[in-house]
Amino acid sequence: MSEHHPIEDELTAYIDGELSELDLQRVKAAIAADPKLAALEALLRSTITAVEALPSPQPSQALRRAVLNGLDAPASFRERLQQWFRPSRLMPAVGLAAVAALVAVIAQQGRQAGPLHEAEEEQLYVAQNLDVLEDLELAGLESAEDLEVIAQLDSLEATP
């Protein structure tokens, strides 16, 4: 079995142009010095080029109709349940308490350490903009309670 060269793990990022200048030069030098590494780089590069040129399916007209016609349709039971368990509905009190606690902690630290550090200011900003939590919910990052409900959705849906 051939020995694993530590630079091998950098080759795909090298081909994708995702390395820093320093790492780029390091990988280039390693490839120039090692024919096996150069062969692997060439193989990865040719495969990536071919894969990226593969054609993909075109969406059907039926999809457009289904989506645009579905805009006014009521959400499914599952979606309605998820809406109900949104953090903004379920935990307003928890949210307010968290803000109050955060402000208190930061104010206390401010008294002890003088001007707020940048990270703390950032935390305050987050506290003032708790509605971004809804983005997290939209992206599927639910609260612990939500996760439990979602885990039980199948059985809830099956219940008449």
Partner: protein, 197 residues
């Protein structure tokens, strides 16, 4: 907090969708439906299922538009929604990635090359990629698809997957190696067939 890039018109459209503007949603849909279907297709291996997932993703996007905050590039946001939806559906067991059936393997003869040999290679390459995708972890598959078929940068993929750039680099490298391995298996098979003939 990130500032909305001036050129991200999609984010502005999404804000209009939040105000109930269906025409703005139709514009967003037309711009991104091909990407979402392509991503879902690579994820589940079937165009019919990919379109079902795409439909659910866009409807979810529409119904949640009021809570949208333009703190990230819209495409990254969209792919975060799409990735989570596909992952959740696959984990629920409703969708398992299928190897494409012969009927669903797309005719690549025009896109890949004009000579019969080139066309054959394109179809077989598609089959090799399908097998590799089938063997990948869900996160490898998502990262690989966003990188190779959507041209997204590692930073954007990291945002979409809620991962570090280092993790994305590793996911994409491992996934690419799996494709290389399948292509090598394909080539070895072709050589053996050729020498038998």
């Amino acid at each position: 907090m990130k500032v909305l890039p001036a050129e991200d018109q999609d984010a502005r459209l999404m804000e209009r969708v939040g105000g109930g503007d269906k025409a703005a949603f139709a514009t967003l849909f037309d711009r991104h439906q091909a990407s979402v279907v392509r991503f879902a297709w690579r994820f589940v291996g079937s165009q019919g299922r990919a379109e079902e997932l795409a439909q659910e993703i866009f409807l979810k996007l529409y119904r949640s538009a009021k809570s949208y905050r333009p703190s990230a590039k819209f495409k990254t946001f969209l792919f975060r929604v799409a990735t989570n939806h596909c992952l959740n559906e696959v984990r629920r067991g409703d969708y398992q990635r299928m190897e494409p059936s012969k009927e669903e393997q797309h005719d690549t003869s025009e896109a890949v090359g004009q000579r019969p040999d080139d066309a054959l290679e394109g179809k077989q390459l598609e089959a090799a990629v399908g097998k590799a995708l089938h063997g990948m972890s869900e996160r490898e598959r998502a990262a690989f698809s966003m990188c190779r078929f959507e041209g997204m940068a590692y930073r954007e993929i990291a945002d979409a997957l809620d991962a570090s750039e280092a993790a994305v680099k590793s996911l994409i490298h491992r996934a690419t190696l799996q494709v290389v391995k399948q292509v090598e298996v394909l080539r070895a098979g072709l050589s053996a067939t050729g020498s038998e003939a």
